[in-house]
């Protein structure tokens, strides 16, 4: 498995596209900036919704309205993140593909994106879904805490890709 990733990374690094991303000096900083601005969209939206669930932010607005206002944005931002992330990987496959911080980041993104979707989806057809029983209210609060922690760890892991040494295969 790891050696397959290694072979794929080596092939990516040998492409013209990878060479262009490496050699044109403004591409990586610019793409990283777009990446961080998109992270800001996700973090802003997710924190406001999670803090609302935990009773810190905008208690006068219904969760369904808030979710519609904010969570809709994160799926567009995630699309931009996927694209800019892919450009960064193509430019420097050796830096990320076999990096434990990158593995952790991807796993956490998948888990927390599913959690975010699970909060958002039932609200579309039933605005009071999360408020209809005590166990649902508790479940929602637990998901909100997990979401705050996981999204924060995703940002940390992203920064740590620059510091953690990739596994050598």
């Amino acid at each position: 498995m790891l050696s397959t990733i290694r072979t794929f990374g080596d092939w990516l690094a040998s492409t013209d596209l990878s060479a262009t991303i490496q050699n044109v000096s403004w591409i990586i900083p610019t793409v990283q900036t777009v990446h961080i601005v998109s992270v800001a969209v996700v973090i802003g939206a997710v924190f406001l919704v999670d803090l609302r669930i935990l009773g810190v932010f905008a208690p006068t607005q219904s969760l369904a309205a808030l979710s519609h206002r904010f969570l809709t944005w994160i799926w567009y931002a995630l699309a931009v993140l996927f694209l800019t992330g892919a450009i960064l990987i193509i430019g420097e496959p050796g830096r990320s593909l076999l990096n434990p911080a990158f593995f952790a980041k991807i796993i956490m993104i998948v888990v927390v994106a599913v959690l975010t979707y699970l909060v958002q989806r039932p609200l579309r057809s039933d605005a009071g879904y999360w408020d209809s029983s005590n166990s649902r209210r508790l479940t929602l609060k637990a998901i909100a805490v997990a979401s705050l922690v996981l999204w924060s760890l995703v940002v940390f892991a992203g920064r740590w890709i620059a510091y953690v040494t990739p596994i050598s295969v």
């Binding site: 939206a45 932010f57 607005q61 206002r69």
Partner: protein, 164 residues
């Protein structure tokens, strides 16, 4: 005088600790990035409301009262962690062009905020609800979001010009 201060900061035991530890710098940096994304993500909610783009069903005053405390907490965390990063290599950062631009833009964003708060915002009762926002308020929102994106860009650029 600024150079003397930076040298003093560089020589503090705290700055020495950050340089000596392999983990302190990346951890301060990680929290700094998280805090800045929350500053930008939350201030953008207010800015887009002022631009008439989003949250139009929410009264401006209420939105500002709800969102800005979160922005300020995140900003305080960003300043503390950023201060720690700066201390670790103070003299070099103070002479770094992207760093100087980042500081200048934060100053301008602060002035933009003060003008909005003390001049433009005084008439908020007339445009509190609905999408019709007067030009000075739109301008404040547009400048704010543009400057904060530029602050992120210059911040990232610092990392490409100074090795730790």
């Amino acid at each position: 005088m600024i150079q003397d201060f930076c040298q003093w900061l560089y020589d503090t035991a705290f700055a020495e600790m950050i340089r000596a530890s392999g983990y302190a710098f990346p951890w301060f940096e990680s929290v700094h990035v998280l805090a800045i994304t929350l500053v930008l993500g939350s201030i953008a909610v207010v800015d887009l409301r002022l631009l008439g783009v989003a949250s139009l069903g929410r009264p401006v005053k209420q939105l500002i009262r709800e969102v800005l405390p979160i922005t300020w907490v995140a900003f305080a965390v960003a300043v503390c962690t950023g201060g720690a990063l700066f201390a670790s290599n103070a003299v070099e950062y103070s002479r770094n062009f992207p760093f100087q631009m980042k500081m200048l833009l934060m100053l301008l964003a602060g002035i933009n905020m003060l003008v909005f708060h003390f001049v433009t915002y005084r008439s908020v009762a007339q445009w509190n609800e609905g999408p019709a926002i007067p030009l000075p308020a739109r301008l404040a929102g547009g400048l704010s979001i543009a400057m904060w994106v530029a602050i992120v860009a210059f911040g990232r650029w610092i990392g490409f010009t100074i090795g730790f």
